[in-house]
Amino acid sequence: MKPNVAVVVFPGSNCEQDVVYALRREGADADYAWHRDESLGGADAVVLPGGFAHGDYLRTGAIARFSPVMTSVTEMADRGAPVLGICNGFQILTEAGLVPGALRRNEGLRFLCMWTDLEVVDTDTTATRACRTGQTLRIPINHYEGNFTPPPRRSGAEARPRRSGAEARPRRSGAEARIVLRYLENPNGSWNGAAGVANDAGNVVGMMPHPERASESWLGSEDGRLVLSSLVESCKLAALA
């Protein structure tokens, strides 16, 4: 089985080709989807790649999350399909309420483009199942807004409305941020050094580091392959289930 992985292109995305290349290398039938697409066809998984979707106006990811394709992305997330947001894709997932929390400007107000070492904290997700707990992954970051902030602890039913298609629904509230990957040295002030977080179910993962940029030895690291192969493996397991 060759899992079908959709890589969504927003106006301003700029990592989609690298992601498709790297996913194909892991045995996926990866292809592009346009942000205006109403349907993702028969995709088994979806990746929101990095870039500057819709110019990052207002806030990073704030406008992209209203793109028509996000209705399908939300449906896939809700039915447990693997969804991965990388960098700007992570920002879009937080704005859409598919993973908890928010990403704001880096501590120190620096745009960071550097290699980072990440500790795998949680292997029970669709993006880390091929990893070992405690394993160190060397994967680069490239962002200005990667300072992860968890959702405020809420006692009651206060919830932010989340748009899904034409409907407004309550945003998932009360969710604790589940850290999947943690920086060994915190570069941006992120809460608890969070580099990647998951939703409660572990099928939706957002991460600031770019696994596709660590997918060939000549790039300096192949550790990102473990993230992308986790996604591909998750599709295969879902097909068997």
Binding site: E95, G101, T149, R160, P161, G189
Partner: protein, 93 residues
């Protein structure tokens, strides 16, 4: 949206979006650290936010304010980290 006498009101909505208290405001901190260098030594609590203005038209100021607050909840502010205030003021049509 028309009131009983058929009149409609046009208003300017002014929106301030700020990081919530307790969320560290790195921009505000940098501004605060810069002010003493220019001779202003007596400043603290600097916070930097966003100001938006838009024109809206509807049946009543109350209805318009509520509508703009919904815009903030769903789009103009990220209520995970930001809070907002809205004022609406009638303008000549």
């Amino acid at each position: 949206m028309t009131s009983s006498n058929g009149s409609r009101v046009k208003a300017v909505a002014r929106i301030d979006v700020m990081l919530k208290p307790g969320i560290s405001d790195v921009q505000g901190q940098v501004v605060e650290r810069s002010l003493p260098a220019m001779g202003w030594e007596n400043v603290s609590g600097v916070r930097v936010g966003k100001h938006l203005e838009l024109l809206v038209e509807g049946a009543s100021l109350d209805a318009l304010k509520e509508q703009v607050e919904q815009m903030c909840e769903r789009f103009l502010a990220n209520t995970v980290i930001e809070s907002y205030t809205v004022t609406v003021e009638p303008v000549e049509a």
